[in-house]
Subunit: 471 residues, 2 copies
């Protein structure tokens, strides 16, 4: 028998809500880093307001996995290029004892780990509400809004929802994930009242969901947003908090919500670490996947969000190329170690196509087009059979130039005339180093655990939460 | 350089227009057969008006290839079943020295050869214009109409058009051909004035052609006919003379008209007998046709028009079956010796399909359908991968039951649950004897000249007139 939702949530509460010791540790860490940042800015002659924001400031962070957001607020009169050219370098230098990762949302910010906590250092402009100069300017207003609306009870509910979203892999607004932001999760709980209510409502979402938690002037025009899910930002009627949520993540959340309500399990929140699969297990899986292809390529180390923007765009280009040449794609997925190696997985419905391609010509009634068609195809070397009249139009059977998807891809890596567009920062490494890895190559790569997990998930097809016992 | 149209038509005229001797022979043959028929009917106590009709009566027959139509007119009070049960048997008996073929249009009639002329003996009702009881009742009015409108000049033009239509294989309203009747060819020439004018006009036909050669009351409603080509019968505004013309034949006529006007050649009218192709030529052609399949089956000897109705319907069933199982068909064609052996040729775009079939499920938003979908596919043996959420809907990858078109067909010949519908009179022979013939089998069959020609035409794809030097 499946456990009850309440008994599961009790365990999640014990795990996810920080206790007095956790809070103490976090507060002192936050205070210390804030102070350090202030002195770096001052010593570089920047006049900035430093504050703690995000889930720590709102007390919605998950025990043991908090992101600590430290914001540095500048005068709106400051030029944004100064951030890029002066503030960020000064901060990097001042924080050089940490291993800094440069990241990018609407503008650059910094990320590093300190005592097992991920710290983000983010610049913004101190503006009046509504006079936004950059996307991060809203954050202090978000913090303030949530702090005046959340209660201890709803804070726990937010934690349940965030942890559930993490567990089913739909949490995070960064481009790699394309999922739900923390602010969005919080707003959903405020709107529906609790975690369970949110899941029950989400179970019935119908492809035209409009949520206004706050009666804002101008917010009634939510319909002008085109997305399936529109959640109006409670401090800005012009903004859809769910804009970054990709269709797949939205509907995965809906589907997983239904599954949890049908048969609750702690694994939705804290999924088991997937077990390592053996070479022979992979061999069996691969044997069943006639249409599987993996394109492996080196890439440079760039700001991870920019990297992922380009990786996803590359994936789309590859799919588009194959489709233009009549191949049908079931699924595609991109994996990267975020440092130097990228892989695009493809599952083709038709990895090989017949050598003959039926080419539809114009209706015979269109005299000039028919003439052109006959001139082009009658004596062409690539014409295998025909032209002939079928029903009311001309048809010709042509020799297909690329009956094999892998041959087409190999050609397209080198030959830009086939129309594969490779994003700028990936371009050099990709065109010189991309290759389709064969089964032996795959077997070597599965010693990389993260790669192996992504590959297994891809070959299995099912999302992990759909493999659970009670799902 | 291509010869001129006039120089070609001069030769056609010499060949196709009967001279005094031809006419004398035909007239005496017609008179003798008419007399014989009259005496058979009288000796069987039938009161019938016997007359010569059709192209001989209208003087539009082609030298050396006339059909002699002898019509027997009965009182409209007579019951039509009497034709079937008494008249036809009496005629068959009386004409038993000939090798009689029973044929069928709207009702049965007889066909036999006498001194190298094909003779049709056709019953009809002698009715007032408009009070038609059977389709053949119009024929005497057609004869009368044409005789009062055709001139020696236009009679020659009709002969050019008929001969052209025969040459490009679009002549004949019988179901096997689905082309232009003699009456239709004559009406087109009356309407456009000459053979060349007809071709020039046809070259511009645009998919909504309405022709009224006679200002008949009610004919202005030609638009109620749904076909691309509507030619109102000059003696019956209710009837489209082009109703039997299949799309393919109509547009082949249009296309061939343009080709002839661009580069005239006698071969459009009198195509060369196709040369016999050797086994190795066939082997080469077959090697290039990955997707070619021939289904061979015995069939009973039935009235040829009924046979062809059922053969064409069988062809459609086979194509439909394959399409339902995701196979794409480029072309199909049926050949029969009209006595006992039928063959359906198929050219498949995809003779083999991948073992994996991507099955689209419902949008996740549809909660109940999603539930049903998950129940059906999650633990099904035929599920290879998934289910997963893609964009806004469920997808699952299934094992395809019939990845091979020939295996599917072999199964469907025997197992009616796969939904292949075989017309009644073909049913027994087909289900017990149909098989897919392999390359060796094909090579044996090409000793049958008519089969070999049909096969070559099919493998080549191009209509013969498009293979001509000046085409």
């Amino acid at each position: 028998m499946a456990p009850s939702t309440n008994s599961v949530l009790e365990i999640v509460e014990r795990r996810a809500v920080p206790g007095p010791d956790d809070r103490k540790r976090m507060d002192s860490q936050a205070a210390n880093l804030k102070k350090e940042l202030q002195s770096i800015l001052i010593s570089n002659d920047f006049d900035a307001e430093v504050s703690i924001q995000g889930s720590v400031a709102k007390d919605t962070w998950l025990r043991g996995e908090a992101d600590l957001d430290i914001f540095a607020g500048f005068e709106p009169s400051m030029n944004r290029t100064e951030w890029v050219e002066k503030v960020i370098p000064a901060l990097k230098k001042g924080l050089s004892r940490f291993k800094i990762v440069e990241r990018y949302a609407e503008h650059p910010y910094l990320e590093f780990r300190s005592e097992r906590v991920r710290v983000n250092v983010v610049p913004y402009f101190v503006v009046k509400k509504g006079e936004w100069k950059s996307a991060t300017d809203r954050t202090p207003f978000h913090t303030e809004y949530m702090n005046s609306h959340l209660t201890p009870k709803t804070r726990a509910e937010v934690r349940f929802l965030k942890r559930f979203m993490k567990g089913i892999d739909v949490y995070g607004a960064e481009i790699r994930v394309g999922g739900f932001s923390g602010m969005l999760a919080e707003t959903l709980v405020l709107n529906y009242g609790s975690f369970t209510e949110t899941l029950e409502e989400a179970s019935c979402w119908n492809g035209k969901v409009r949520i206004l938690v706050e009666k804002l002037e101008g917010a009634e025009s939510a319909d002008r947003f085109d997305s399936s899910l529109v959640v109006i930002d409670p401090i800005d009627p012009e903004r859809n908090l769910a804009a970054a949520v990709r269709s797949e993540k939205l509907w995965s959340f809906v589907a997983a919500s239904r599954q949890l309500l049908q048969g609750p399990s702690l694994e939705y929140f804290y999924p088991r670490t997937p077990r390592t699969h053996s070479k022979s297990e992979f061999q069996r899986k691969l044997k069943d996947s006639e249409g599987f292809l993996a394109i492996v390529f080196p890439h440079p180390k760039v700001v991870v969000d920019i990297l992922w923007g380009q990786l996803l765009s590359l994936e789309q280009s590859l799919v588009g190329l194959l489709q233009r040449f009549d191949f049908r794609i079931a699924r595609s997925h991109t994996w990267s170690d975020d440092r130097k190696l990228g892989v695009v997985f493809l599952e083709l419905e038709t990895p090989e196509l017949p050598r003959t391609r039926v080419h539809l010509g114009p209706p015979v009634a269109r005299r000039e087009e028919s003439q052109t068609f006959l001139e082009r195809h009658r004596n062409s070397k690539s014409t295998l059979r025909g032209p002939y009249v079928q029903s009311e139009r001309w048809i010709v059977e042509k020799r297909r130039e690329y009956p094999s998807s892998s041959e087409l891809l190999r050609k397209a890596f080198k030959d830009s005339s086939l129309g594969l567009s490779v994003p700028k920062q990936l371009h050099n490494n990709f065109t010189s180093g991309a290759h389709i890895v064969d089964r032996d190559g795959i077997e070597k790569m599965i010693s990389n655990r993260s790669f192996a997990e992504a590959l297994w998930d891809f070959l299995d097809g099912r999302p992990r939460w759909l493999r659970l016992k009670y799902a």
